[in-house]
């Protein structure tokens, strides 16, 4: 028996910790496990992935998981970015998603009818018990529920060794997820069928739509040139987006001044006067291609014109 899993989330959500906890708990239960996170140069908020393989016999073939049995998604906003992983799940496998959306909606978004969907509001559960939006404990609980291992008590022991603090709180969240996670079975499973795709072994460190070329074509001395970062849209990191109420804005430009991503810009907006004349008005707008949703602009706004709204 071997279970190959891929865990997808963002830097700072505890993906690595989650795989360590489940691996540790599996080891306590007598399994062999390898938790193998991929580290890039990215920072908090950027998509990251980790591999976790659990087996009854020792694992020596430490290689990237290409067609996982289970994919765990820490953030339903990542589904589009991480679709390659969902497509690679073996038929009859599991997709565990942290989401507050309805099962019907999720089914549509995931777009596969030959895998188990496991849905839970992990952030909600974590906020309730731990007081922090860390979905790793609840997702470990959902994993245990659908796979039948590791045992809940082992997860608790793993919390003690891996976290060393807030064990009771995290375990309460794990337990609630174990009890409440919703499992939607597949409509039909053709056991012999192959997954739609495989996870490429090169995608982890490729952040941006850059063409992979051979050594004679890379730039000499590894030099890079201005303008190249514009292909790297960091808008996908965002959980909330800023919106502005122009009627409250006094054009103090504090938001522009403090934006670390150069995502606050001035734009011309056309407004119609009472007698039909069109005026061009200078207003603040956001470049959602790059905005990471840090909310600094909303915090520094002296009139409360900028609000953060949760994105779909």
């Amino acid at each position: 028996m071997r279970v190959e899993t891929v865990w997808l989330g963002r830097g700072g959500q505890g993906i690595v910790t989650a795989t360590y906890i489940v691996a540790n708990a599996a080891v306590i239960d007598g399994f062999y496990a390898l938790a193998n996170p991929e580290f890039g140069a990215e920072r908090r908020g950027a998509p990251v992935k980790a591999f976790l393989t659990i087996d009854k016999s020792p694992i020596e073939d430490q290689e990237p998981v290409k067609t996982p049995d289970v994919v765990v998604i820490f953030d339903d906003k990542l589904i589009d970015t991480m679709r390659f992983a969902i497509d690679a799940v073996k038929p009859g496998g599991h997709v565990i998603v942290n989401t507050a959306k309805s099962p019907e909606e999720m089914k549509k978004i995931i777009g596969r009818n030959d895998v188990y969907l496991v849905l839970l509001d992990a952030v909600g559960i974590a906020l309730k018990h731990v007081g922090l939006p860390v979905p790793n404990g609840p997702l470990a609980g959902a994993f245990s529920k659908v796979m039948g291992f590791p045992r809940l008590e082992s997860i608790k022991t793993a919390f003690e060794t891996q976290l060393g603090k807030a064990v009771e709180e995290n375990f309460a969240a794990t337990k609630e997820a174990y009890e409440t996670a919703l499992v939607v079975p597949p409509e039909r499973v053709e056991q012999a069928a192959k997954p739609k795709g495989v996870i490429s072994t090169t995608s982890a460190f490729l952040t941006g739509p850059y063409e992979i070329v051979g050594w004679p074509e890379v730039s000499k001395a590894g030099a890079v040139f201005p303008g190249s970062s514009l292909f790297y849209a960091t808008g996908g990191w965002r959980l909330e987006k800023p919106v502005i109420d122009h009627s409250k804005c006094i054009m103090c430009r504090k938001c522009w001044m403090y934006c670390p991503d150069d995502a606050v810009v001035e734009a011309w907006k056309e407004v119609q006067g009472p007698r039909g004349r069109v005026f061009r008005m200078k207003v603040i707008d956001f470049d959602y291609q790059y905005c990471k949703g840090c909310a600094v602009c909303a915090d520094v706004c002296p009139t409360g014109a900028i609000k953060m709204v949760r994105e779909i």
Binding site: G40, A41, T202, F205, L206, I212, V213, G214, W215, P216, V218, K220, A221, G222, A223, V224, F225, P226
Partner: protein, 402 residues
């Protein structure tokens, strides 16, 4: 390119004969190459080079910025910065100084900067020993630098000029080091021929500025993170450039011969054509090896000598050809390859190149004195079968394997 091809050619450039120590010869060559930035830190035995260069700068004989940095780490950093900004640069070091600048050495390669560094070789501490052996330069072999080892003050002078021309060639763009014996060359006064008109050197090796530079009008940027997706490809260009550089090194050497009447090849040979025994060594020891070969010839032994000059890129095919007829290849190394199958670094590389056992011995470690009699005795042991191949012996070590 072997010595057989090195027939004297007609000199194009008028020259005059002077007498200088190896260090001062290097300083003079550097001055004639007109570097724009020199950064160096004192360390024995290279110090006279940078002292002389500082003197040239302060007397107005050389228009350059001389940065008296606070360490070798900073010396290499400063020349990397200056070279990246588009300047011709020079630094010089030895031993522990090389160790201190070590982390920057592969960076200069990855950024493809044509830095030229001199090196009066010296052994590594401990115990602290300021005298010459080749431990330091041998520790640079894996990094991607072009490595020259010169025999004399004249050759060090000529090689510095060649090194600038090679390093700045657009097919190369790699840093180069010119190593020569600490003390036995660096501090020994020798005759040498230098051009009457310094301009000739700049005509031979003009500053190309063809490498990737930090130019405000075309802002290229150097030193990006190379993730696992990209690192290998970027680095591989430097690997290929180093391989390519062999051709350029030979071309430049040949043209240097036409201009100045002196050529060295990738290595030099002495009576190796029909030799059954070839003594291989490097640096100033070559003179002794030649003397031993001549003495053995007088006694009826077909002996020859070979001196390694360009050890990176390694002239494997050429060495194979030059040594294929020799029954016994006896490598006298001047650095220790600690814990290796053969403790001599060049013996290991030659064994791998020739794909047969070689005879290996260590000599001059920590600048232990040596004379031609000692080498002669060692050669006899090899000839008589007293020394076996695939083993490392020592020449001059008390209580050692003799």
């Amino acid at each position: 390119m072997t010595a057989q091809a090195l027939a004297p050619v007609e000199k194009k450039v008028a020259q005059r004969r002077i007498a200088l120590t190896g260090n001062h010869a290097v300083a003079l060559a550097v001055k004639m190459c007109r570097p724009e930035v020199i950064a160096a830190y004192p360390i024995t035995p290279q110090t006279p080079v940078v002292e002389k260069l500082a003197e040239y700068v302060n007397n107005g004989e050389l228009d350059a910025e001389y940065i008296p940095v606070e360490s070798e780490h900073s010396a290499m950093s400063a020349v990397i910065g200056a070279s990246a900004a588009g300047a011709r640069t020079f630094t010089e070091t030895s031993s522990q100084g090389l160790g201190h600048m070590y982390e920057n050495l592969p960076i200069a390669v990855g950024m493809r900067l044509p830095i030229v560094m001199g090196m009066a070789v010296r052994t590594y501490s401990a115990p602290i020993n300021v005298w010459g052996d080749y431990s330091d330069v041998m520790s640079m072999r894996e990094l991607g630098w072009i490595i020259y080892i010169a025999q004399s003050a004249q050759e060090a002078f000529d090689t510095v000029i060649q090194a600038y021309r090679v390093a700045e060639d657009s097919r190369v763009h790699l840093p180069a080091v010119v190593a020569y014996d600490g003390f036995w060359t660096s501090h020994v006064l020798q005759p040498l021929d230098v051009p009457e008109d310094e301009e000739e050197v700049m005509r031979f090796a003009p500053i190309t500025r063809s490498w990737v530079r930090l130019d405000v009008d075309n802002p290229a940027q150097l030193g990006a993170v190379g993730t696992p997706e990209w690192y290998w490809e970027v680095r591989w260009q430097a690997v290929e450039a180093l391989r390519e550089s062999q051709k350029v090194i030979e071309e430049v050497d040949e043209e240097f011969g036409k201009w100045f009447g002196r050529r060295y090849g990738l290595f030099r040979t002495h009576r190796t054509e029909d030799a059954e025994l070839v003594v291989v060594t490097y640096g100033s020891l070559y003179g002794l090896a030649k003397k031993v070969a001549d003495r053995l010839r007088q006694e009826g032994v077909r002996a020859g000598a070979l001196r390694l000059r360009v050890i990176r890129p390694w002239p494997g095919d050429q060495l194979k050809k030059a040594l294929e007829a020799a029954e016994k290849v006896f490598v006298i190394d001047r650095a220790i390859n600690h814990g290796a199958y053969l403790q001599g670094p060049m013996a290991m590389e030659l064994a791998a190149t020739l794909q047969r056992p070689v005879y290996s011995a260590l000599a001059t470690i920590g600048m232990r004195a040596i004379d031609s009699d000692m080498i002669y005795e060692a050669a006899l042991k090899v000839l008589k079968g007293l020394w076996a191949p695939n083993q490392t012996y020592t020449i001059g070590l008390r209580g050692g394997y003799e």
